[in-house]
Amino acid sequence: MSPFGRRAATASGPAGGLVDGRALVERVGALRAAVDAGGGRLETDAVAAAEPVLRRAEERLGLGTGRTVVALAGATGSGKSSLFNALAGLPLAQTGARRPTTASPTACVWGPEPAEELLDWLEVPRRHRSDRESALDAGDQVDLHGLVLLDLPDHDSTTLAHRLEVDRLVRLVDLLVWVVDPQKYADDALHARYLRRLAGHDDVVLLVLNQVDRLAPADADATQEDLRRLLAEDGLARADVLTTSARTGAGVAALRGRLADAVAARALALRRTEADLEDVRASLARGVAADVVPVPAAEDLPGADQLVGALAGAAGVPAVVDAVEGDHRRRAARRTGWPPLRWTARLRREPLRRLGLEGRRASGDGEAPELVVSSVPAPTPSQRAAVELAGRRVGAGCSQGLPPRWAAAVREAAAPPGPEVADALDRAVVGVELPRTSPRWWAVAGAAQVVLAVAAVVGLVWLAGLGVAAWLQLPDAAVPAVGPAREDGTRVLPLPTALAVGGLVLGALLAAVSRRVAAAGARRERRRAAERLEAAVRTVAADAVLGPVARVLAEHEHVRSSLAPPATTPRRDAPRRTARRRAGAAASAAGDERRGH
């Protein structure tokens, strides 16, 4: 077995293990899904470029991998056709000195299985197809069974049509054999236009330095090494370089052996497809962030609290909680206030009723909250502006580290249309069950106030009676007294005085104390109302802004993770050194072989 054979075997079964067709079909599906999910947020160019490659991959996999399509590509005059004929053993392709020689691809098929479908797919003209399987050849072509060899037109002549044909076929074939010659191996047309774009396709690219008979042996080795260096710069460090001479036949057998191994492994179609898909993945992946972008829960997004604050302001939450507090105070005053002044509380409008929040609950009917529109003042322009600003901050904070298109999507999601939000806010505020408690002590204090008031009235009337009696010079009636006893056994405080003064003072005192206690209760109720309203506003914020933003972030993360590099194939770095060494060994072996000729 030739050294190329060993190399070929390792190339078709590299570190990552053999790829199989089904896995690749799945990968095509995954990439399509990523394109669909990413939509317009991936880079337009990459998305546009992806679809043809994905379609090609499916078509190629659909055609089966039993056949291996190998194309001889290269510059005009490098000897593609001569090499093609040398491999075929028959003068199938036209050769000549006039440049460019070959105008349309020529195909040669080894083996009995039909290849018509494959050749139709490749659009090789029927008159340029030959079968290399005749009784005359007996068994000596058996090693190439399964091979479809194409001779491509040149890619660098003044004839543009040739270049377009090469461009088309370069995307389709399984193994690309680039035939170069000592004059042209460093042409920019080859390296910039083709090889650099094939970076990462090391397994399915083979360089053949033809016309090596024109070089002195030392120059041949140096040239081969130089070509290898240029390949490494192109990103094809592991691609093989062979030397041949179609004229003397040197190296043709080795090339043939290399092709035989490639055909036998039956893996090149898969390798090529895999490399193409990896290209698609890598170019699509440039449209997403390189690293994981965290997807926090909606309420933990940066700037979420400020947004909720701004929305609460726009929803009139401060006014509502003020009203709740005031309502509590007023009701307390009405129930526990000093009876002679209780009526004044009725003179003011109920704050909750004024906001349209009280009647609904008080009436207790089944009207759906959606149908009720509160009369909470509509948000002012500055409140709307504050909401916009807060939304913009959320957008700016969440678009950190995202590629521009995703960042724009996040910013868009963070800036919802104003009227809808205002509506949602209004519904949320109306839907909140506001706390409206009537503590039991109100009744007790209220009753006490009544008792005290009655006592005061009784005392006053009594005193008045006494006064009238005194004015009429009626004899003093005994007035009962209360309080500590004096030395003579009488009490200090006359009862009517005690009733009147006590009733008044204690009533005022009780009213004052009640107000203090009720104020504390009102503050508690205000806190509870604020909590409930804030929760409602939070829901609106989550529905209108934070949720959509989190969804964009989640979509991005989904697309990003489905476009992350496959973890199982550390192929780019690890095998390079050994491949290089093997390639070196192959080169010296090739040198030996050439000197043998």
Partner: protein
Amino acid sequence: MSEAGDGGQLLASLERLRTELDGLRLPLDLPDAGRGRAGAAAVRDQLDDYLLPRLRQIDAPLLAVVGGSTGAGKSTLVNSLLRERVTRAGALRPTTRSPVLAHHPDDAPWFTGDRVLPALARSTGGDEPGGPAGATSPAASGLRLVSSPAVPAGLALIDAPDVDSVVDANRALAAQLLAAADLWVFVTTAARYADAVPWDLLAGAARRGASVAVVLDRVPAGAGDDAVLREVRADLAGMLSRGGLGAAPLFTVVEADGGDVDGLLPEAAVAPLRSWLDGLAGDARRRSLVVRRTLTGALDSLPERLAPVAGAASAQASASGLLHDDVVAAFATGREELETELTDGTLLRGEVLARWQEFVGTGELFRSLDAAVGRLRDRVGALVRGRPAPGAEPVGAAVRSGVADLVRARCAGALDRTRDRWASRPAGAQVLALAGPALELPDGFDERVARLVRDWQRGVLDLVRAEGEGRRTRARVLSFGVNALGVALMVVVFASTAFIPTGAEVGVGLGAAAVGQRLLEAVFGDAAVRALAARARADLLRRVDELVDVPRRRLDEVLDAAGVDDAAADRLAAALADVAAARRADA
């Protein structure tokens, strides 16, 4: 020669063109900017390397540049012509990286200075450093001078780098050298003669009418190849005549099959080319013909070559104009919204309205009118209710925060609109990156907004105070309190353009404004109130304008710093017109 004498005007106009090209900046990354920059650099180089020196000294030695594809055998050809290894030939591509200029010893003074190719440092003798070169290898910026008696006097040969290898610097240098050549000796081979890249250059040379000689090199020698040679030669000749180069002399050099002496081709192989060059060097008339032909062609091609440059320059100007317009439009919209919202009564909602109603509706306004009673009642009320009565200050605070939010939001909106518009422009990404923090509100903007509103409020109070200086009104102003009247004036200003109430809230707001208006009219009179409101409103808008200008100016500065020269295209066209006029005067 006569050209050197009256070519002075042409020379001056070309020097002016050179200055224009040197100063030309195409900073925006527009689609055609790269082409424009490259075109400007190429023409500038040609002016330096060829046109200016040639016009200054029309009888300087003829410069023949041997150029062509990599591996075509240029270096071997030059060595063989000189019968000496002056330049390295080899199997590794590309071989020649720094150009070699071979001249007759008598012609040395023409080339040792920086008369031609001033950008290339001169060196003499020694071999060039070898070693592999990649696409990104640095440009070999030197020009090696080799003095050899084998070069005919009156002619110098340059061994140029290839025009088509992977080494970018080589291709650039080759293009520069070809542009500086009086005569292009185009070297190709039997395998290469149909390559697209050199043919593009040849077609360019044909268009310009440059003098070209073609060498078909590396023709395989030996029996049976004669037919091949004839076929290839005929094909190439056909291509040349189709390409407009039918007049170019075509030489064939047979590849020595291992029979090289020191890597040189046999003398006989290069004899025809050699004798053609000798004849050219020796015949002053023919030489001058070649020189004039190429010179005229180069001058003729200037407008065509500068068209994309001028196009790129005017594209820069119009792109920059569009970017400026975007800023202007975005801020004009923001300013308009702001003016509307500040004066059409929409501010009289929510917080401001609530505080105003609290101030007016709860009687605080009228309570504060009777200061002594009011203060006592306030104190009693505070005692009973546990909190002080609201005065004018809460309204002022509400106004402050309302106006500040509005200004900040509209400025941020204008910046956002600018960002969006810029993002859709061709050079958008670049400008957005340049702008960076200028697309955010500046640091301390919030404080500036707050200061603006405070200053305006102070101004309004001053207005009221000044208006109240009149003997009759003074007492009334004092009785109402300056603060209360100031707040009323603010409320009037906020509704000053609201003629048609459109909704309940606006109605309420206008009612509030009407209360303020009546109060003010009672104090100052009808006409005075209108004048006061107009002045206060103008003052507010002026201050707002000043503030809005701050972020807008920052964006303008960003665009100005990008360095687009609006007049560059015009100046370039003017310089070209000068050149054309000078040539007409010469003719």
